[in-house]
């Protein structure tokens, strides 16, 4: 018996030794192994199927700075451009304000499931907070797609012009 071994361990080791001693297996011919490895080279990699639902948001309202919405007093109009988008049951409220260093974008996603989601504007990326609010600062002028991503859904607002 090997020192420090229990009976169960000894039985296992005896079995391993016995199987090794009676192992008469042989290697496959090298050309067969090479053939088997090569067949994989013909495999076209299939992109993983994505179950993510992609939804395009539609513009519902677009108010320029200092312009009140229909039915509101002009005093209530803000300094930022306000836009409201709809994507299914989700609404996205955006406020875009121009500054000396670029554009500041604030937004809120109104609907279930977008707290702490990924928000992208072009190459800029952030996360929404617990109230599904997000913000970016100093975005250079240009045309951008804004995307809101959860594990199941991606909402896209195309061609936002700052």
């Amino acid at each position: 018996m090997i020192l420090g071994m229990t009976n169960g361990n000894e039985n296992l080791i005896n079995k391993i030794v016995s199987l090794m001693e009676t192992d008469s297996s042989v290697d496959a011919p090298q050309d067969a192994i090479k053939w088997a490895k090569n067949i994989f080279r013909t495999r076209a990699v299939q992109p993983e199927k994505s179950l993510m639902q992609k939804v395009l948001a539609v513009l519902q309202m677009d108010l320029s700075p200092n312009k009140a919405a229909f039915g509101e007093r002009s005093a209530s109009a803000g300094q930022a451009r306000q836009m409201l988008f709809q994507a299914g049951e989700i609404s996205i409220d955006l406020r875009i304000a121009e500054t000396e260093k670029g554009f500041n974008l604030r937004g809120q996603i109104l609907g279930e499931g977008f707290a702490n989601c990924t928000v992208k504007v072009g190459k800029f990326e952030t996360k929404s907070n617990d109230l599904s609010e997000f913000s970016f600062t100093e975005i250079p002028s240009g045309k951008y797609d804004l995307t809101l991503q959860t594990e199941e859904t991606e909402i896209v607002i195309e061609n936002l012009i700052f």
Binding site: I2, L3, G4, M5, N9, N11, L12, I13, N14, K15, I16, V17, S18, L19, M20, E21, T22, D23, S24, S25, V26, D27, A28, P29, A32, I33, W35, A36, K37, I39, F40, R41, R43, V45, Q46, E48
Partner: protein, 200 residues
């Protein structure tokens, strides 16, 4: 001592099975290195089944290629990647039996169930009997586990137990550059490490 036929000990080796599942997963993503590892890992087991059953080297190579071609074609359909070893053994067994049956001009089972029944009726000691194949699988598991040991342990255990003519302690000592008296305790420690991997 033929312990394998008298002692009921199953290898768990879940770590190794998990690796198999990971290999299949990576193959599905197009990872060539994973496929190469899979072929290297199982080539010996797959070719040994038809060779043990008495097929010629050429026929065994045909079985070998058919098995890996089937695996390649069904890569995305295999439902339990962690059980790929059993899948490969069964596929190799069926294809081997197909050739043997053809040589004997036996009828061809039309359904998989009929084939299963036919295979189940094989005598216990026949080359394709479950008992024999389980032993082959366990020998495969040992060889795979051996690869996880450090090089020195691999060499010691391979030289002592896996060679056709087992090496003497003096030969092993020379090969690894230690004194002959060190071999016995080193061998014991290596066996314990191997057992630990297989019992995980």
């Amino acid at each position: 001592m033929d312990v394998s036929s008298t002692t009921k000990i199953e290898f768990s080796a879940k770590g190794l099975e998990k690796s198999d599942a990971e290999l299949i997963k990576n193959c599905r993503r197009g990872d060539e290195a994973a496929w190469d590892t899979l072929v290297s890992r199982y080539q010996r087991l797959i070719i040994t089944i038809p060779r043990r059953a008495g097929l010629s080297e050429e026929q065994a190579s045909d079985v070998f290629q058919e098995v890996f071609l089937t695996l390649f074609e069904k890569l995305d359909e295999i439902e339990q990647p962690e059980r790929i070893r059993s899948w490969l053994v069964t596929t190799s067994k069926f294809k081997t039996w197909g050739i043997i049956r053809g040589q004997k001009n036996l009828y061809s089972p039309e359904t998989e169930e009929e084939m299963e029944a036919e295979m189940a009726s094989l005598l216990d000691k026949s080359p394709l009997a479950d008992e024999v194949l389980i032993e082959l699988e366990q020998q495969h598991q040992i060889r795979t586990a051996l690869q996880e040991l450090e090089e020195r342990c691999q060499k010691i255990l391979s030289m002592i137990y896996l060679r056709d003519a087992a090496a003497s302690y003096a030969e092993v000592a020379t090969a690894i550059g230690v004194g002959e008296t060190s071999i016995s305790p080193m061998r014991s420690r290596c066996l314990q490490k191997l057992a630990k991997i297989l019992a995980k």
